[in-house]
Symmetry: C2
DNA sequence: CGAGTCGTTGGCAGCGTGTCAACGAGAGCC
DNA sequence: GGCTCTCGTTGACACGCTGCCAACGACTCG
């Protein structure tokens, strides 16, 4: 079934898509260094040289995969119920935890992907930037950008850690994770301390 | 001066130390993949084979470096001035920021080192465990371990993010970083929300 | 059905890592 | 002081992986 069909011609976009799809599977369960271009080619049913032809570099393909993963969650967060800041924050956190629970594999793959890489960091930073905008618009539309956007971006670091405590280590259950995120997000949005 | 002295014999422990010291310098300013064993050998003034002789693997040497970096901050945190929880928390954060400022290169190297690596994660998790103990003992000795240790560990994720906002991106100044960490740490230690 | 286009392939060159047998610096002994 | 023995140290070898490139041939157009 579905013969290998070596050398069959394909539309460049479709071929790119096949390669990215295969790479997505491999990088989701093996760290970057453990995946060779040979593996990537085999998974896509293609000659190894084609990887370089389309993406130039193994790293570039990896960046493409990361880009796909981080731009998936662009679904709307806007429809939050009216109410107090606490209620709205709780609803936002619930929505987020639902999303994480649904895509746990991919979420963890991104979080533990390959931080420390300058290019990967740039992509993640870009995604965080967008997410921070959404959070501020939804929960603190009147807060000035200056400290608060950076505060929210920092908050995402805690979000990743807490996700791993919940999904990987099991030291937090979902309710405990929710409580933590709500507590901290409120603290981040309300600057209490005197400098 | 200080002739190369090729092939000079040295006590194994001293030699290990020299290699680790050189590796520490290199990994502090270049990502893992960008440092070759040849570089490591040259930096230590030694033949390349000796790296493998002492550490077996480039990765093992890297893990050793990470272990050193994460266990350095084992100096005492105990001497916090008496006072309110807010004052003590502020003092702890100040102490921490001083340490980060002093070793910024190394701190960033660890934080952005190679997350996603199973072995590195294990070392970082171990270090976080110890640090969480210290924080709890110093600031909330009566809090039950169950949710609070995991909450503090999650907090360290925000600490890393905030450090990068401060040192790398410059979107937070030191005062702003301090305010954020104090606000969040207090929120983490005081569970406000109702589950 | 023949010719041209371009998606695709396989092999080549270079680099980096891990292994190993042999060398020789330094210590101990006579 | 010279000899010997230990073991820290070296350099070369084999292998795997990446990026590059010229040739191949599948598909299209006239």
């Amino acid at each position: 079934m579905t013969a290998p069909a070596r050398g069959r011609r394909l539309d460049p976009d479709a071929r790119r898509e096949e390669i990215v799809a295969g790479a997505l599977r491999l990088f989701a369960e093996h760290p970057y260094a453990a995946v060779s271009t040979t593996d990537l080619a085999r998974e896509a049913g293609v000659a190894r040289g084609l990887i370089n032809h389309y993406f130039g570099t193994k790293r570039a393909l990896y960046l493409e995969v990361v880009r796909r993963l981080t731009t998936i969650p662009e679904v709307a967060v806007e429809e939050l119920p009216p109410g107090t800041v606490e209620e709205r924050t709780g609803a936002a956190v619930d929505w987020f935890l639902d999303a994480v629970d649904r895509h746990r594999g991919l979420w963890l793959a991104v979080g533990t992907g390959a931080a420390g890489d300058i290019d990967v960091d740039a992509i993640l930073a870009e995604a965080d930037e967008i997410a921070a905008d959404r959070v501020l618009a939804a929960l603190a539309p009147d807060a000035p950008d200056d400290p608060y956007r950076a505060r929210v971006r920092s908050f995402f670091g805690l979000v990743r850690s807490a996700s791993r405590e919940w999904l990987v280590r099991g030291t937090l259950d979902r309710a405990g994770t929710r409580a933590l995120l709500v507590d901290v997000l409120l603290a981040v949005l309300h600057r209490d301390s005197q400098v």
